[in-house]
Symmetry: C3
Subunit: 330 residues, 3 copies
Amino acid sequence: MTFAASTINVETHRLPFEAQHDGRFKGQSILSISQFNLDDLGYVFDVAEEFRLMVKRVGSLNLLRGYILANLFYEPSTRTSSSFLAAMQRLGGTAIPINEVRYSSVSKGESLPDTIRTLEAYADVIVLRHPEVGSAALAAQYARKPIINAGDGIGEHPTQALLDLFTILQERGGISGLTVTMLGDLKYGRTVHSLAKLLSLFDVQINYVSPEILRMPADLVSQLAAKGTRQAEYTDLREVLGATDILYVTRIQKERFTDPAEYDSVKDSYVITPEIMAQARPNMVLMHPLPRVGEISMDVDSDPRAAYFRQMEYGVYVRMALLALVLGKA
Amino acid sequence: MTFAASTINVETHRLPFEAQHDGRFKGQSILSISQFNLDDLGYVFDVAEEFRLMVKRVGSLNLLRGYILANLFYEPSTRTSSSFLAAMQRLGGTAIPINEVRYSSVSKGESLPDTIRTLEAYADVIVLRHPEVGSAALAAQYARKPIINAGDGIGEHPTQALLDLFTILQERGGISGLTVTMLGDLKYGRTVHSLAKLLSLFDVQINYVSPEILRMPADLVSQLAAKGTRQAEYTDLREVLGATDILYVTRIQKERFTDPAEYDSVKDSYVITPEIMAQARPNMVLMHPLPRVGEISMDVDSDPRAAYFRQMEYGVYVRMALLALVLGKA
Amino acid sequence: MTFAASTINVETHRLPFEAQHDGRFKGQSILSISQFNLDDLGYVFDVAEEFRLMVKRVGSLNLLRGYILANLFYEPSTRTSSSFLAAMQRLGGTAIPINEVRYSSVSKGESLPDTIRTLEAYADVIVLRHPEVGSAALAAQYARKPIINAGDGIGEHPTQALLDLFTILQERGGISGLTVTMLGDLKYGRTVHSLAKLLSLFDVQINYVSPEILRMPADLVSQLAAKGTRQAEYTDLREVLGATDILYVTRIQKERFTDPAEYDSVKDSYVITPEIMAQARPNMVLMHPLPRVGEISMDVDSDPRAAYFRQMEYGVYVRMALLALVLGKA
C-alpha cells in the first residue's frame, strides 16, 4: 500500500509540495469521511504535515490572509470551535464566531438554509456544528461556498475521524499492519464508528472491547468485514492489550445504562491506569477524543505513550489543511 | 437629479475616488438616517461600491489594519453583528465581539455611558445594538470615538436603511423614477419606516400594501406627502404588483393581532409565491430584510429577481464604507 | 529609590529599550503580584510605556503577529476580557475568545488541567478567569505555555493591581512620597488588597477609610507595617482628603451588610461628588476599578482629576506588556 510507504518518515520526508496540488477539494464541502479515498487521505495529510512543520518553524502563515471563516455552532463545543478558530488564525485568516445561536433571533424560526445563505454573503467558508443528522448536507445543498461539517448530531464528525487517523500516522509513521483496539462505549460513539470506517481503507486489525450492551453495531462490523477488515470483539481489555499498537479509549456514559448497578460493575474495567499501561507495548499509542471524565487516570498523562493532548494539536493541522484545500489555497 | 445620473453605471463607473474625499464623516457617529442628505448618500454609496469591486477582486483590504471595532450587542442579532464583523475584517481590521452582555457584570448596574467610555479606551469605533430608543444617541453624547447605531429598539437602524437603498441602487442602477411597493406589517416595521424616509429624498412612487390594522403610520405618510413623495395605500398586492419595480416584503407577526382568526385571514395574502412572481415585472427586485418566516416561499429563491441574499452582501459593503468613513480612512 | 527617579518624566524619558531586555518573563506565567519586585515592576512599566507611546503614534504594532491568545473566561467579565483582546490585537496578534464556558461541554465535568492542556495545543498564551482561588496556579502547574491570571475568585487579579500602579505612575510621574487613600469596602475588595501590597514596595503613606465593618483586614495591615509602610485608618474621608494624592474608591455592596439600615447610614459618606472634589488637592488623582454603581457621581467625570477612564486605557498597555513579555517578544 503506497500510502503507508509514502508517509513512513514524516519528519524528514518532503514531497514536491506545490507540484502535486490538483485543487481537488477546491470549493467542495467536507461532509462525511465517505468522501475520502486513500489517495485523498494522503493528500490531506501531506498538507497537514506541511502545515505542522511550518507552524513549528514560524508559528503562523499568511496563506488565508483576507479570508473569513464563519464558525457556526448551534450547540456548544469549545474544543472543536476553538480548534477551527486556531486553524484559521494559524493560516492568517480571520473568523466570525457564532456560538450563541440558541439565544439569537436566528434560532427563532429562521431555516438553516437561510442562515447559511446569509453567512456566505459575509464569509468565504462555513464550519457548521448542528444537533441534527444531515444538517451539514442540507447546508451544502444550498450554499455556494464550502461547508465543513463539525458534527451533525449522531451523524458524522469527519474532521474528528481525520485527526484521529492523522494522529496514528504521526505517532507511528504509518497505518498498515497496526492493531487498533477501541475501548468503551462502542455502540453510541460516533467517533469510533467513523474511525473504524476510515481504518478499513488500510490493512489493519481492529479489536472492539466493550460491555455487552455497548458493543460495536453489528451492521458496521458486517460492513467492514465485507471489505476484508480483520475484527474481533472482547469484553476484557487484558485479552488484547499486549497485542495492541493503538488503544483508542472512549467515555462510558452512566446514562446509557438502565441499571445503575450494571454501570458500576463495568466502569472500572474501562479505566486506563499506570498499572494497565505497564502491561502495554512500549510503543503503544494511547488516544482519546476528549473530554475524558475518568476513563484515563491523570497519572497516565506523563507517560510518553499518552497521545491525547498531542491529538488535539494534530487536529489543528488537519483542520488547517481542510480549510486551505476547500479554499483552493493549499 | 444628479444622484441617479452619477450612479447609473455603477459597474463601469469610476469616480476620481481619492479626489472627492472631504472627510465629512471622520470622527462622527452614525445614529440616524436623518443625518444623510442626497450628497452624503452618494458619497457613502460611492465608497461602498468601490469596496464591493475591491472585495470581488482581492477578497479583503488593508485599509483598517490595526484598527479595533468594539461590537457591542445588548440583544442578540447574529445577522447584524456578523455583518459588522465581516465588514471590519474585510477592511483588515479586528474586532472585540461583546455579545453576552446580559450575562455579564456590565449588565448588572453599569450605565451605558460608563460601558461606552470603557470600550473606547480599548477600541477605535463602537457598533452598538441596544433595546432602548435613544441609546445610541446617549452613547454618542459621552463617547470621544465614533458610535454606529446598529438598532436602538423601535428607534432607528440606519445601516439597514442604507443597505436597503444601496441594494435598490445596485439592482436597478438608479433610484429616481422607480415605484417601490412595501408589503406586510407597515405599522411596526422599523425597517420600512426608515427606508420610506430615505426614499423620500428621491423622485419615487411608494405603495403601501398591508392589512388594515397594520397600515403605515399616518404621521409618517403625512410627513412624506409634505415633502412631495407620491404615496398610495392598498390591502391587496395584485392592485399594484404589475406596476412595481421594487417589492419590499416584511414579516407579519402573529402576535400583533388580537384576534388569531384575523391573522389567519390575512397571512396568506402576504406570502410571495412563484405564482405571484409570474405576474410581476421581469426586472422587478424582490427584497426582504430577513429573517423571513414564510413571507416568501423558498420556491422563489432561485428566481433571479429574488435579491434578499444579495441584499445581505450589499450590507457588508455599506458597513465597510461607514466604518472606513468614520475612521477617516475611506 | 531608583524606581521613582527613573520614571519621573515618563513622557520624555526613553530608556535604551532593546538593551535592557533580558527575557526574564519569557515563558513564565503571571499568577500573583508577589512575583514582582521593584525591578520587575520598572521593567514591565517601561515596556507598557513604550507600547503606550507607540499606540498613540501608530495605533497598533506587529510584534505578536501570528501569535494566538486563548482568552478563557469561566465567569463573565466584559471589561477584563475585552481589555486582553484589545491588548492582543494592538500587538498584531489574534485571539480565541472562550466566554461561554458554563454552557459548554467543557464545563460538564472536564477538569481545568485538561481544558488548559487542550487550549495550549491551539494557542501560544492563555488568559484565565476562574471563580476558584488557586485555579490559575493549578493551570500553570500543568501548562507548558504561559498562563496569565485574570482573576481567580477572591484570590488574585494581578493585572488589575499592576494597571492601578501604572495609572498612579502615569498620572503623577512617580510613586514614592505619595499619600494614597483607599475608600469604601476595604474588607472584601481584592483590588485594594493587591494594590496595597504593591504600594508597600514604595515609600508611601496609605490611608484606609471605610465603615467599621468593612475595615482593611488586620493581618494585611500588620504585614505591611512589618515592611515599614506607614498606614492609618479612618471612617471619615474628610479627615484625610486634603492630604491625599491618590484617592482610590471602591464599591460598597449592600449585600455585605446584615442590617440594611446600617448600609443606608454609611453609603452616602462614601460617594464622591463635585463638593468633595472641591476640597481635594488640585493634582489629586481619583481612581476606581469600575464598574461603579453610584460611588462616584457622574458630575465628577469632567473633572480632570477623574482618572478612572484613563485607568482603563492604561490597563491595555500593561496587558500588552505582559503578553509581549511572557511570549518573549517585548
